[in-house]
Symmetry: C2
């Protein structure tokens, strides 16, 4: 026999009263116990009806199906995404609790520390022509184009992967602006303002894109297009050179994607970018430019969905003998997420000393998880995160 849920239609409270049901739920860390009665969250009650063979009755003795019950809570935001991600976590035998139970600082995060550094460029004079429609600068002085490429890995001299072939250097829009600002580049046919205005009109959130580029470049990192890896930039650690060493190309291991606070990103598009990076074995770095947040965290109005307990050696963690590990952010495939909104959620989880786990429910109710780890990039004003596909 399954569990019996008692629904109070007026208050929407769902109670479990039979002693054997109460002890079964208490052992599974479902609901909240008050005077021998367990009160369930909507998602927990839905789980009982869907998976645990429960039945639900109201005060008049009417039976309520899954849809009857869920219909009472249809005004809750993303009810089904929350239910399906909760269900998936529970189906894995792991514990999930309401995020409003988070308190204090669990100290379960550790930022990934990245090298700091400084980029210095000799101030020799460079002259180029800006191809406005292509957002590319060409330097046709062979010697300086070659030096710029070989010494600083700025521009592409000659041909891609065959630098000896050809005499011109091509600078992309980020390299062009960087050198106009910090190098000694001058353009025969344009000024910094012209280049900036054109880029700003053509590339979405260009200011944020460039800020991230400059932030890393200034620290000695090499940033080139991430086109082949489905992201905005790929990145090499300070000291990387485009010249083959021992006949081997240097391979980048990280890609950087810029998420402007002002932008809204479709979850499925965002996920696609992470997938490409994963398939080519690169670490996906999300950069959120702009000032770091300092917001109020209110336990009663959590931005995140569930407090998640994970595994430990030889078992699982529970609210009784363990600590939560993640805060779950329940999302769905066709949903948009804003840069600021994500930044706030990440701030909240940092406040509790927990990592954020993005749980994306697709149109088929299959759940994909991404773990988000904070990066500590010295001297950066921006926030950076490693995002990694995970099977919990």
């Amino acid at each position: 026999m399954g569990i019996t849920l008692y629904l109070d239609r007026k208050s929407g409270k769902i109670a479990v009263k039979e002693p054997q049901d109460v002890s079964s739920l208490a052992n599974g860390f479902y609901g909240k116990m008050e005077k021998g009665i367990v009160y369930l969250q909507p998602e927990e009650a839905m789980y009982m009806l869907d998976i645990r063979n429960a039945k639900c009755v109201d005060e008049a003795g009417n039976t309520h199906t899954f849809n009857d019950l869920a219909s009472l809570f249809l005004k809750k935001k993303k009810l089904l995404a929350r239910y399906l991600t909760f269900k998936d976590w529970r189906d894995r035998g792991l514990m999930a609790r309401p995020s409003s139970e988070a308190e204090g600082n669990y100290g379960r995060t550790s930022a990934k520390r990245y090298k700091g550094g400084e980029f210095k460029i000799d101030s020799y004079a460079l002259q180029g022509v800006f191809f406005l429609d292509d957002l590319i600068t060409v330097i046709d002085d062979e010697a300086s184009g070659k030096e710029l490429y070989e010494k600083y890995w700025i521009g592409q001299f000659g041909t891609y992967k065959a630098a000896h072939r050809g005499k011109i250097a091509k600078l992309d829009i980020y390299e062009t602006i960087y050198l106009l600002k910090h190098g000694n580049l001058s353009l025969k046919n344009a000024k910094l303002e012209d280049v900036w205005a054109e880029a700003d009109e053509r590339i979405k959130y260009f200011e944020d894109m460039y800020s991230v580029y400059e932030d890393w470049r200034k620290k000695g990192y090499v940033l080139k297009t991430g086109f082949k890896f489905g992201t905005h930039f790929r990145i090499y650690f300070p000291g990387a050179s485009p010249v083959r060493e021992n006949d081997e190309w240097i391979h980048s291991k990280h890609v950087v994607h810029v998420f402007s606070r002002k932008s809204k990103m479709l979850i499925s598009e965002w996920s696609r970018a992470i997938r490409v990076a994963h398939s080519v074995k690169k670490t996906f770095i999300l950069a959120i430019p702009g000032k770091k947040l300092d917001i109020k965290v209110n336990a009663k109005r959590p931005r995140l969905d569930f407090l998640l307990y994970h595994r430990k050696k030889g078992g699982i963690e529970t609210p009784k003998d363990g600590q939560p590990r993640f805060l779950m952010y329940s999302l769905s495939e066709d949903e948009y997420i804003g840069g600021e909104e994500l930044a706030e959620a990440l701030f909240e989880s940092k406040h509790y000393g927990l990592e954020v786990l993005l749980a994306i429910s697709d149109r088929e109710s299959s759940i994909t998880y991404y773990a988000v780890k904070r990066i500590d990039l010295p001297q950066s004003d921006y926030e950076h995160f490693e995002i990694e596909w995970m099977q919990p």
Copy 2:
């Protein structure tokens, strides 16, 4: 010694006159010969300066560098993208000519023929609740949810890849509308108009997305989310079933991405979707909904960039002893392409009996190629194409 280019600054004409230069260029199928003089296109002249060690002089005897020459043509759209894609093709030892030279019908395309079919569904009554914020319908009548899933692969009954686990069926927004229109689904809390209005507000180009879904579904194909493969839908051929056969899951081999005529797609984002499909070994199908085009093709104002000759057994094809194979569409990473614009380009190439080769120049001047093959889907009013990554 390199070739000498003679620039007429007034007309912008670039001529090659020395007999040995003329014969070298004629042998390589560069430029157009008139009375013993070869006149070069800007991209060809740029190639000579960059790669072939040419020098360029004007009538006054002044020398012109790559940038000097290119500067004369800066008003041409995407000059550098055109140059770089032309260069890459030439660097491979292959021939490229101006697209304005295309004429007649080369008969070098063959549409991929896909099965036609018909989808019939028993008209038993289904009732569900629509979760507006999640764009999902739940059917909690176990028997009909299960039958719908097993017989037609509509909805996800139980748990993804574990249908026995759970009692409810989840229908995505496309399945919901399809059954509201063509099945016998009714919703307790919404009508077709409500569902449509919400979807239309939340999902970009929803009408086009749904049209494509319906177009294939009606022919018996099974369409499920393509979330895991970075596209709008994945697709199974008529007759596919979600029930394991011989303990093996059926795997989809095709994914469908919808490109609305009204939309503008960033090349790098588009390419990302093709890349994910390629990395999971699926055929990428581009669907362009809406009425098929019938436009005027004007040889003097080509929409495509170069007429490409490819390889043949034991050698290459040339304008002398072969036929062109592709029309090149030169694009760059940070460019937007419109659905209608692409449809027109594809129409133009069909007119000439050639395939379109998309050549995308990234910010580092590396070129990525995608071949576009027309699909013949019987009884479809829309245009469909297979897009495949290619190394020429």
